[in-house]
């Protein structure tokens, strides 16, 4: 076993835990689980969510929400990044719901897509997030069971203490784990013990995609929102001579038509 200091992201974990201590989220919806197969199963959503850190929420019934930090642009990081968290948290992938994280680089660090770097750069942070959550659940169980935390083991979202023959699902200790100090050190899994990383898992958004449910920027409308369109010159280096906006402005629904220079520095030179 390899022990790691949790200094990477520890500050942000602390922050989120403090935030989450007071506020738990009440859920009212049904979401499709990550369970593959023809019969897409709906997971029973919990009554309460307990946020262990920015990446992980666990319901009282053991359902786990994992935040996917980076933009999904077809590289399937919305599936693969949560898989890494789930691996170290040691939960059943069938019991995981993935949610797109909001922009918060303090918690999620590098939230961009590019250069095939999402997994490489996210790897440590994602493993830490999962392992930290697992450790906090173990500590919560150790307190209640009054046993050394080192004797507690986990498997697929269940905590075990074999000597006293006790076991409990993560959901039972999620509430207690939220109030705990973020551990100074955590243990990461050995690569040979991986059961999720390195396995083939289907796109978590597959069922939404094949039924045309809204997932993309163009699908959302906000109150008072307007659409803007840029008419580009047909070739680089061309300059606008003149533009008659009267006809365009006369069309129904057109609020304004105007020209602009996209490179202020260029404009300044002239």
């Amino acid at each position: 076993m390899t022990v790691f200091k949790t200094k990477v992201g520890r500050r942000s974990f602390l922050k989120t835990s403090a935030l989450a201590g007071g506020g738990l989220m009440i859920s009212f919806s049904w979401l499709a689980s990550c369970k593959p197969g023809e019969e897409e199963q709906a997971l029973q959503m919990p009554d309460e969510w307990f946020e262990l850190n920015g990446f992980i929420k666990i319901g009282e019934n053991g359902v786990v929400t994992i935040m996917s930090p980076n933009p999904e642009i077809g590289q399937n990081v919305k599936t693969s990044m949560p898989m890494i968290v789930a691996e170290e948290l040691d939960v059943d992938w069938d019991n995981v719901v993935v949610e797109q994280a909001p922009l918060n680089t303090e918690i999620f660090t590098r939230q961009l897509a590019g250069g095939s770097q999402s997994i490489r750069q996210g790897w440590n942070n994602l493993r830490m997030a999962g392992a930290t959550g697992r450790r906090m659940l173990m500590e919560a169980a150790a307190k209640v069971w009054q046993v050394p935390v080192g004797e507690i083991t986990t498997k697929k979202g269940v905590l075990y203490h074999s000597a006293s023959e006790q076991s409990a699902g993560y959901g039972e200790f999620a509430s207690a784990a939220v109030g705990l100090e973020v551990p100074e050190e955590i243990t990461l899994k050995e690569i040979k013990d991986f059961t999720i990383i390195g396995t083939d898992r289907r796109n978590v958004d597959g069922p939404k995609i094949v039924t045309g449910q809204p997932l993309y920027g163009l699908d959302y409308k906000a109150e008072g929102m307007l659409y803007a369109m840029v008419a580009q010159p047909p070739a680089f280096g061309m300059k606008l001579k003149s533009v008659d906006v009267a006809a365009a402005k006369a069309m129904p629904g057109i609020r304004d038509v105007f020209s602009f220079t996209s490179y202020p520095a260029e404009q300044a030179k002239q």
């Binding site: 796109n203 597959g206 094949v210």
Partner: protein, 151 residues
């Protein structure tokens, strides 16, 4: 503006729009059915594919005035529970990556299988050649169409 009564996914919808409005924008902007995607706007990418009387058409380039009495089917109405053979095959083969083009791919594939329940590789390639996928899911699309054909 003109009133149009459209048969969409089994129900009748009234819209008051300019007759030249492409069916795509009637669906997306006027009826809030955003499953059908805008890609190129010139019938060159296939993202906006819907069915008109069971045939695949590019809705970005069909004015609403041309629809008339013909039944429109969109990705939202391909099946009630998302269990059309093509949708099931798409999940089984895990076709979608970003998913943006997939509504169009699925609608085009469903229309192909309506007309030709057992297409050859060449027929699949010919029928699907107008549907572009930036993620490059083409090999899985072909596999899923074969899976759907055999189901």
């Amino acid at each position: 503006m003109a009133l149009f009564s459209l048969k969409i996914n089994g129900s009748t919808q009234e819209v008051d729009v300019d007759p030249s409005t492409p069916l795509l924008w009637v669906l997306r902007d006027h009826l809030d059915m955003v499953g059908t995607k805008f890609g190129c706007g010139i019938a060159a990418c296939g993202a906006c594919t819907v069915h008109l009387e069971g045939n695949a058409i590019r809705s970005c380039s069909v004015p609403v005035s041309m629809v008339g009495e013909q039944a429109v089917t969109t990705i939202e109405g391909l099946s009630e529970k998302g269990d059309h053979p093509v949708q099931k095959a798409w999940l089984e083969i895990d076709v979608p990556q970003c998913g943006y083009c997939q509504a169009g791919q699925i609608m085009n594939a469903a229309a192909l299988l309506n007309q030709n329940p057992n297409p050859t590789d060449a027929q699949i390639e010919a029928a699907m050649s107008g549907n572009i996928c930036r993620c490059g899911t083409y090999t899985r699309i072909k596999e899923a169409i074969k899976t759907a054909a055999n189901s």
